[in-house]
Amino acid sequence: MISARKLIRCLDEFWPVLETLALRSQHHTFSFQDVQSLVQRYAAQQTSEQCFKDVQRLLQLEILIPMAKSSQLELNRAVLEFLQFLTQELTLGTVGDIESRILELNRLREKMTQAAAQKDTTELRRFVRLMDERVREVVKHFRKNELAIKHLVEQAKADDRQMSLAKRYASVMDAFDEYIEPVLQMIDINGPFQKSIEALEHALSDQISFIEDTGFMGNDKEPLIQLRTRLLEMNQIGRESLIRSTDQLMPLREELRKNTLVSRNASELLARLRKQGLEPLLDGLVPKFSSDLQKFSLGSANQITSYMAELTEYEDERYQLPDAIDQTPSSNIRVPDVQDVLKSARSTAKKTDLSRWLADSYPQLPVDELLFLYQELSRAPALQLEHATDTTELEIHGYRLKLHPFINSGADRK
């Protein structure tokens, strides 16, 4: 049998070594030599023989335990838990730890009610004590898990910033999904936790009222009241601890969610831009940060003043008309209607050359009007015109025209 006092003294003596081992044991095991060199590191003045003996002592006191079928060592589980409790390097428990104790409380409540009905005071006391134990354990779990989450969050935040959030926050996200969410569901107002607590509180209150009314089992009233208070406290502590844990985890979760969303949207949007082009998509999306209205509005006093100053010196520029080139007054010539000309051409134009016919028929018309008529008539299907192979030369109002005239094909055939 190992002496507890010896064990405590040994823990005290080798505290730095054990603290380091507790940290390491989360990741891997260690050999005898590893522990020996650790002892050497913290007690540099010791000889290696003394260090060897120290490690032997740790083994004898079962602080270190050899692993099955291996020469590697590990920390005794009880010692490890004690060290973690002391250093608050707690690991996150599971929702099952709490749930099983709640089920146990339900079972004990029924036993307690039976014992009370049978007026069995010894059994009643025993069940009250057991229930008190379970309630304390649940509270301990809530506190331990809250500390563990805090530790996880700090570790995630302090980790290498070059690593991606998804990797660094992996443990935090697991904590959220595997602990916070299920516990939140459990302590939900309609969840099993709440129902059990209510039922237990009723049972305890009934028992307390019974004692107050009858005076029977008067000595057991105090533990019952204590248990009821602790039970209500447990409910409160559980909720508050969960709220605090959620508050710590939520910002990290949100940060991760935003980063994921931004990355995903960026690659989706760029892919769509490549397919559909920039303008239609980006125009509706990009923020606008300067407008014509703002740039040119007369909003500020300075601008109004300078504008007014400009107005006082306003002088309109004289509009320079171009010099008159054509000095002869234009005669008021009546331009014949195209339809009339067409009619006249159909009835009288047995001539072959349309341009000459026009020039002869309307000698007073200016050249541009004449050419307009020529163009209109040449397109008229009623005249059945076609290009002549020979050119014709005309002289109208001093302009000499040379063209392949349109000739009346119908007339030719005749």
């Binding site: 920039l278 606008k288 209205l293």
Partner: protein, 182 residues
């Protein structure tokens, strides 16, 4: 509302900057401090002059504009494309874009990388080299308060959240478009 102009000594500078489309963030210490302290007065004054002063909780002030000029529209598109390309670049490297965007000094190498990755898109905005990108985007970002200079490189500032917010809203826009199509 009574305005005490003696409490607004930086009025001219603030107004000039905001009018030009500049975003005043915490790095413009003097202007930021005054805007922060006299936000109500400035907001009232500017809205009387026809401009709406907007404050973002992430640390910047700007004038809200309904319609951008054609040139500003092009510049804004370039900013957007550069920022989105940077987000993808950092994500591909396994970094967290929202952190890397603000922590990383953006140098010629990063600009070359994103240009290479999105050449087809930058080409549409007449940007053909990293030097073009630096001239067209980085220098303009400095002028509009979206970035600050770090030697030859530059670092992005919180006003780029305007583009990141737009990017986060992409989902909503797509869904709306899809439901409209149906």
């Amino acid at each position: 509302m009574h305005l005490d102009l003696s409490l607004l000594p930086q009025l001219a500078e603030i107004h000039k900057k905001l009018m030009s489309g500049y975003h005043i963030s915490e790095q413009d210490f003097a202007l930021w401090t005054e805007l922060d302290a006299q936000e109500e007065a400035y907001s009232a004054l500017f809205s009387a002059l026809g401009n709406q002063l907007k404050r973002d909780s992430r640390g910047y002030f700007y004038f809200d504009a309904d319609d951008a000029t054609v040139t500003m529209g092009k510049i804004s598109r370039l900013f957007a494309l550069t920022i989105f390309a940077l987000v993808e670049h950092f994500s591909d490297k396994g970094l967290d874009p929202l952190r890397a965007l603000f922590d990383t000094e953006i140098d010629h190498e990063i600009l070359s990388n994103i240009l290479q990755q999105q050449y087809h898109l930058f080409e549409q905005l007449e940007v053909f080299s990293a030097t073009d990108l630096k001239r067209e985007v980085a220098n303009r970002m400095l002028r509009h308060g979206f970035a600050k200079a770090q030697g030859d490189n530059f670092k992005l500032l919180p006003p780029i959240y305007r583009y990141l917010d737009a990017l986060m809203a992409v989902d909503a826009v797509t869904e709306q478009e899809e439901s409209a199509d149906v």
